[in-house]
């Protein structure tokens, strides 16, 4: 009996020890970092300024073959020509481009993505738009550019980009003569970013322009949170008109319902309920809501994945301009540099509750809480260098509208580069068996 008890005790002791002393095996180790973001080059006749949150933010020019970076030393950096690669470390820089006395537009500098959809631009005779494809990697890149228009899918354009270089494509070469363009930029290899400038002109007369912000992938639900709606002053002719451009990239037609969210309420404009959108064809729908708010949002629901954007006609100092408002992903905690800009941020959601921290040029900080339903707008204070979304209610979308002397612009409130959590690989011969 004694031996039996000893044996039992030995087992119990082993089990206790094994339970207590189990070495937790951490099978995966991760490395976290923010990928460097890329800002568009400044094309001829344009001017660009990049808003930064810190003077220490480091950058390098795209054409620089070395991998060394240098600090900006300023909070708003004018870009003379070359595209910049910025180690933004979590604070998304914003680029503001303009053609003096003609138009202005904004875009966020972003990290490389696997797919970009640009809903905007035109290939007709008025088009002066361009697509800039940038390879910020040290290897050669291959990129497919697929354009869609009101006449359907256009021939595929494949681009070979040398390391650390960019190519500018005229939009009118993608679907010559067609008015409504949607471009899909699909990198096959390389570290690729693309930016689109939609610029229209008739002869010497400028018809306005804007930077078209990209959408990552088609979706069944899209929310465009900030659409400018210029209210005509008394006696003035209404200048504001909106065009919804939609594309169903799949092979099946989509039924689209557009819901409008504004301070005047939430409603589906007439003719926008279960509107059939043919697949592969860029469709434009005129949207002229009778609302009193200066900004509104739309929520687009579809039974098939779609991409969409709204072009809004605006008048700046008597000049015609337009703004491309694009869908944004749901708001997450993030930071964005806004130095030199005082954007009006529109939040759209069923229930809005967003906490924003504002960092001023002098380093001071203030907090703001935005609450509401359907849509809420909040203007960033003057002398702010960055805003940080500390907390956001779920399914809340945000976009920023920026007015300047040269024109109107739109910025999606979304991080340009997400914290990338990359697993550190371990050596294991197991990879060599199927």
């Amino acid at each position: 009996m004694k031996r039996s008890i000893y044996a039992l005790l030995a087992l119990a002791l082993s089990f206790t020890l094994a339970t207590l002393l189990t070495v937790t095996t951490k099978s995966s180790v991760f490395s976290e970092s923010y990928p460097a973001v890329v800002c568009p080059p400044t094309l001829s006749g344009l001017s660009s300024q990049i808003s930064l949150s810190s003077r220490k933010t480091a950058f390098q020019r795209l054409s620089n073959r070395s991998t060394k970076t240098i600090p900006f030393n300023v909070l708003r950096y004018p870009v003379s020509k070359d595209s910049l690669v910025i180690s933004a470390t979590g604070v998304t820089p914003v680029v503001w481009q303009s053609r003096a006395g003609s138009w202005a537009g904004g875009a966020i500098c972003s990290g490389p993505t696997s797919s970009q959809w640009f809903v905007g631009g035109s290939s007709d005779v008025t088009s002066r738009g361009r697509l800039m494809v940038i390879n910020s990697g040290l290897s050669e890149a291959i990129v497919d550019v697929q354009a869609y228009s009101e006449n359907g899918k256009q021939p595929l354009v494949s681009l070979n980009l040398k390391s650390k270089s960019y190519i500018v494509l005229n939009l009118d070469s993608l679907a010559t003569g067609d008015k409504s363009l949607t471009v899909h930029v699909l990198p096959r290899s390389g570290r690729i970013n693309a930016f689109m400038i939609d610029e229209l002109g008739a002869g010497l007369q400028s018809l306005g322009g804007d930077l078209v912000n990209p959408i990552t992938s088609p979706s069944r639900t899209l929310v465009i949170p900030a659409i400018p709606n210029q209210i005509p002053k008394k006696g003035q002719k209404a200048s504001g008109s909106h065009t919804l451009r939609v594309l169903t990239p799949s092979d099946v037609d989509a039924n689209v319902t557009v819901e409008l969210l504004s301070a005047d309420g939430r409603f589906i404009p007439v003719g926008f309920n279960s509107r059939r959108i043919s697949s592969g064809i860029v469709t434009e729908l005129r949207l002229s809501p009778k609302i009193s708010a200066s900004a509104f949002a739309v929520r687009i629901k579809s039974d098939e994945p779609i991409v969409a954007a709204i072009s809004s006609r605006v008048t700046v100092k008597g000049r015609k301009d337009f703004v491309w408002s694009t869908p944004t992903p749901a708001l997450v905690p993030m930071a964005m540099a806004v130095t030199g800009l005082t954007p009006l941020i529109a939040f759209a959601s069923d229930s809005i509750a967003v906490k924003v921290e504002v960092t001023y040029l002098n380093g001071k900080k203030s907090l703001a809480t935005i609450k509401g339903s359907d849509i809420a707008t909040w203007r960033v204070p003057n002398a702010a260098r960055s805003i940080t979304i500390i907390k956001a209610s779920s399914e809340t979308y945000a976009g920023a509208l920026v007015a300047s002397a040269n024109g109107y612009g739109y910025l999606p409130i979304t991080p340009g580069s997400l914290l990338t959590r990359v697993e550190i690989p371990s050596s294991n011969i197991r990879v060599l068996i199927p």
């Binding site: 044996a7 189990t22 040290l138 690989p425 990879v431």
Partner: protein
């Protein structure tokens, strides 16, 4: 019966040669005097017998001629013939040779003469020789000699005489025991060769008679009983020239002499070679059965003859004088080689059969025993064929076979998966992997191959080199082998077939068995098959002195096999030995019996350490990297945690789910408090289970896996499962009687609980095995990881990145491939990861690896291959890094070429310019055109050498830990990995195995040690 008249034409003189033959002589003399055809003259030639032979002959009034003690048989016969009166022309004179240990049947002479009466060409006739002790045992009906010198009778060993060879046969020769020889021809040929004092003189004489144009026959109606006293070493060999008085030596020497003296001259080289090789083979055989004397006889016999070629030349010259026909005339009497081979195989198989299936006396039933009234045409033991299935063994094994076949339906092909890498196509690859000193795995390794590769290679060679077939059969038949193995153990614990069979079946579907097979754990499966034999052979573990050394060494062979597959068995045995030695020491303290303590100690340590030597150098390397003591062959895969292990389930991929709880622990706990010997088993079972639980909490990094994985404790659980099964058998064996004879109490409840749990476990496990279990990791597959185009460039290093693991638990892993998937044995010798490569791979993934390509190029890595499916953003990250050029992007994955000059052998000039040199798989021969440095992109090892123009180049270790050679001039260079150390270790291992096999082999006995009864 021949007519008297015809017999009277013959005159027969019997010549008895005696040499210490008093044991047999009375019967011999009596037999001679009682012949139905009286012998005309009887003469005895006594070779100075030391016993009463002479007195016996004299008392029988036989004329005796005295000869020297060293006088040979032939010489003695000649003396006898010389003493005869001169021949008469009108009678045919015959000499009847009689040994002092043979007794002719009364009609022997009559039938011999009868046989020659109508055959005037016959010069020599011999009788059918039967055994002296067993007179139904047929010894000879004529004799011949095989090409290797063996005495050839064409009979089975211990063949029973049923008249199957009766008749008069033309033969090469007959034994001199009872041989009737025509005197005139005997004298014409010159009698027996004086150089053949004893043994084979008969074959020689027959051969010479044949080539002289005469005939030799064997007449089987004439019978002589022969004791073969000299051949069976019943008396000393004192003849002149009999070196060391050894019969075998003399016999072999004379056999060689006969062949070399009588064969055609052009056959001599071939015969010499054959004699030498067969002597060596037989010598090895004798060594194996620990008869070194016989072994030396074999070699000495040939050597003594070959060093005296003059003897042969003289003998051939003498024979030539009497030869009338070609020597080839005897070729029809020389047994062909295939018949010798067939007989050897037949004897071997019969030996194995009798060993495995000994004849059980009394099992046969004579038809005469049946009831008198019964019709004799009715079989006494009628049975229908399907009754065979009523036997529990047959139905049990058949049931398991069906289940196994269904559960293994995805494994009917070349197996891969789990811990099992792909099988090489042939046994040659396994042998090469085992013998080579350098393994082309990862950055290369000089680690010793584990001995299990040699075991597989041997088995694959038996299967004509088909390694995939071997593994398929192994995993398919493993459950049946496990069941058979444990059944042999359980049969010693119970006579109830149903209990032993059911327990064996449950053992074969135990959690550890299922997990081991499903996850391709070779070592655990081997342990499951082999381990049940250990308690059978080592029945007296505590009183180990009761085991002979031979038994101990037999066990060391078994442990050597287990060590060869996994050194976990060493850990287990070490634990058992330590506990036993402590117990022995306590006994020694109590009773002070030091010799007993030491006897036990020596045996236990031999048992523990000799297998360690048998598995050298692999086992010795484990002392440097102790993780090998807990590792199993193949890919390092994690086992389950302590919570699973305590229930007998080793866990890991392919194992039973946690809710399928085996009754193992319950049985052990119940048995622990029983009063039967089940308690002993339970204590051993817990002794295995406790360390299993403890070790299952440890994590080790081994077999090419840099991450630490939880230890797989399957081998420990084999012991626990065997003990639990044995305890269950003992409990069930005796509990039925106890339960029937006792009132209802807790034992009834426990027994019912045990049976219910066991039955439930069995049913659900079978269901799981044939459904979910069939899709376990080990499956037949022909797919590969590496794309074919990367295999085109020989020995190109490719960094393979891959997401491994199940959904939700994926991790990114990498390894360096040599252009192909890994095969059996390679994970076991895979080197540890190189830190610089690890850093470069990490930076490659996180996008910070500006210098990753340079690092890869430094280590000779030419390609980076990302196997699909893989995170596209990482692919984009790699695209974004400099130094990599996309080579391809297919559904299989993306390949980048690392920029820069890189390969296996790189020449770096004084100006730093790198040139790629031609390199083979291991060694290489190429030229350098100027002084510089030669960089070999393999792990640094002192055995790497480069010779240039006959000189060895200076070798240094580069900053990256690679071998770098300084070439001071231009010229041809030869790269090689010196395998001397590996060869030395292999020789040591081979010697150890031979030594232990000899010690474990059953000892042969000298003929003089074999009893008369056994000889009969």
């Amino acid at each position: 019966m021949a007519s008297q008249a015809s017999l009277d034409r013959h005159r027969v003189s019997a010549i008895i040669v005696t040499h210490d033959g008093q044991t047999w002589l009375p019967e011999t003399v009596a037999a001679l005097t009682s012949q139905t055809r009286a012998i005309d003259i009887i003469i005895a030639v006594d070779t100075d017998s030391q016993d009463n032979s002479l007195q016996l002959l004299k008392s029988a009034r036989i004329q005796v001629i005295n000869a020297e003690r060293t006088c040979g048989f032939g010489e003695a016969v000649s003396m006898g013939v010389d003493s005869l009166k001169p021949r008469h022309a009108d009678v045919i004179e015959w000499i009847w040779l009689i040994h002092d240990d043979c007794a002719p049947a009364p009609t022997a002479l009559e039938f011999l003469l009868d046989a020659v009466n109508e055959r005037p060409q016959v010069a020599m006739v011999g009788p059918k020789l039967l055994g002296w002790h067993d007179r139904t045992h047929i010894l000879e009906v004529g004799i011949s000699i095989a090409g290797n010198g063996a005495r050839w009778t064409g009979l089975e060993p211990l063949e029973y005489d049923q008249g199957q060879h009766d008749g008069i046969h033309d033969v090469l020769s007959v034994s001199t025991a009872g041989a009737l020889i025509r005197r005139d021809i005997f004298e014409e040929i010159g009698g027996f060769d004086k150089n053949l004092a004893l043994f084979r003189d008969d074959v020689d004489f027959g051969w010479r008679t044949r080539v002289a144009g005469h005939t030799v026959v064997a007449a089987t109606r004439a019978v002589v009983f022969h004791a073969q006293a000299s051949a069976t070493e019943r008396r000393t060999i004192d003849v002149e020239g009999a070196l060391l008085h050894r019969p075998l030596l003399l016999d072999r020497r004379n056999a060689a002499y006969v062949l070399l003296a009588n064969s055609s001259w052009w056959m001599i080289p071939w015969l010499s070679l054959q004699l030498l090789s067969s002597a060596m083979a037989r010598a090895i055989g004798y060594l194996l059965v620990k008869l070194p004397g016989y072994a030396s006889d074999e070699l000495l016999a040939v050597a003594t003859l070959l060093i005296k070629p003059g003897l042969i030349f003289r003998a051939r010259r003498d024979r030539k004088a009497h030869r009338f026909v070609s020597s080839r005339i005897v070729s029809s009497y020389i047994p062909p080689r295939w018949s010798q081979l067939r007989m050897s195989i037949s004897r071997l198989l019969e030996g194995i059969r009798s060993r495995l299936l000994p004849d059980i006396g009394g099992s046969s039933q004579s038809i005469l025993d049946s009831v008198e009234d019964e019709d004799l045409l009715v079989p006494t033991k009628g049975s229908r064929w399907f009754n065979v299935f009523r036997k529990p063994e047959v139905s049990g094994f058949l049931f398991l076979a069906v289940i196994t076949l269904i559960a293994s339906r995805m494994r009917l092909g070349s197996l891969i998966g789990g811990a099992l890498p792909a099988s090489p196509s042939g046994a040659r690859d396994l042998w090469r992997s085992y013998f080579e000193s350098w393994h082309q795995v990862g950055m290369g390794s000089s680690q010793a191959s584990p001995p299990w590769i040699a075991v597989l290679a041997i088995l694959a060679t038996v299967l004509f080199g088909k390694t995939p077939l071997l593994l398929t059969l192994f995993f398919l038949l493993a459950p049946l082998a496990m069941m058979w193995s444990i059944l042999t153990l359980f049969r010693k614990l119970t006579k109830n077939s149903w209990i032993s069979l059911s327990a064996s079946f449950i053992y074969a579907i135990s959690p550890v068995a299922i997990a081991a097979i499903n996850s391709g754990r070779l070592a655990t499966v081997v342990a499951l098959i082999v381990a049940p034999q250990v308690p059978i052979l080592l029945i007296n573990w505590k009183k180990i002195e009761l085991h002979t050394w031979r038994q101990i060494f037999t066990l060391t062979l078994i442990f050597g096999l287990l060590y060869a597959f996994t050194l976990v068995t060493f850990v287990i045995l070490a634990g058992l030995v330590i506990f036993a030695v402590v117990g022995d020491y306590q006994g020694f303290v109590l009773n002070g019996d030091r010799p007993l303590f030491l006897t036990r100690l020596y045996r236990r340590f031999v048992l523990l350490l000799v297998p360690f030597l048998l598995t050298a150098p692999y086992s010795f390397e484990a002392l440097i990297s102790p993780s090998k003591f807990l590792s199993e062959p193949g890919i390092s895969l994690p086992g389950g945690g302590a919570h699973l292990v305590i229930l007998g389930n080793p866990g890991g991929v392919g194992s039973l789910p946690w809710w399928l709880i085996s009754p193992m622990l319950l049985i052990l706990l119940v048995a622990l408090f029983s009063s039967s010997r089940a308690k002993g088993f339970a204590i051993y079972g817990l002794g295995f289970l406790a360390p299993a639980v403890l070790f299952s909490s440890l994590s080790i990094s081994t077999h090419g896996n840099s991450a630490r994985e939880r230890v797989w404790v399957g081998t420990f659980l084999v012991g626990a499962t065997i003990a639990a099964s044995a305890a269950g058998v003992v409990i069930l064996d005796r509990i039925r009687g106890v339960l029937v004879s006792s009132n209802f109490h807790y034992r009834h409840i426990l027994a019912a609980l045990l049976l219910i749990v066991t039955a439930l476990y069995s049913i659900v496990t079978i269901g799981w095995s044939i459904s979910v279990g069939a899709t376990s990791p080990v499956q037949s597959s022909r797919s590969t990881v590496m794309p074919a185009f990367l295999s085109v460039e020989k020995d190109t290093k490719t960094l393979v990145l891959r997401e491994v693991g199940s959904f939700g638990n994926k991790s990114i892993q990498y390894y360096i491939s040599r252009g192909r998937d890994i095969t059996l044995g390679e994970p076991d010798v895979a080197p540890r990861q190189t830190l610089r490569i690890a850093v470069a791979a990490q930076e490659l993934i996180d996008g910070s690896g500006i210098s990753s390509s340079q690092t890869f190029a430094d280590f000779g890595i030419k390609y980076v291959f990302v196997k699909s499916p893989f995170d596209r953003s990482i692919i984009r990250t790699i695209d974004g890094l400099g130094g990599f050029t996309r080579a391809s992007a297919t559904t299989n994955g993306v390949v980048w070429r690392v920029q820069g000059v890189t390969g296996r052998l790189i020449f770096v000039g004084a100006d730093g310019e790198r040139t790629l040199l031609e390199a083979g798989e291991v060694g290489a021969r190429t030229t350098v055109d100027r002084p510089g440095r030669v960089l070999l992109t393999e792990s640094y090892d002192r055995s790497w050498q480069i010779f240039e123009n006959g000189y060895r180049l200076e070798r240094i270790e580069s900053e990256q830990g690679l071998p770098l050679f300084i070439a001071t001039e231009s010229g041809e260079i030869s790269l090689l990995h010196d395998g001397t150390i590996r060869r030395a270790w292999l020789s040591f291992e081979l010697i150890c195995w031979i030594f232990v096999i000899i010690l474990a082999a059953p000892s042969g006995r000298r003929k003089r040690e074999i009893s008369e009864k056994e000889l009969a």
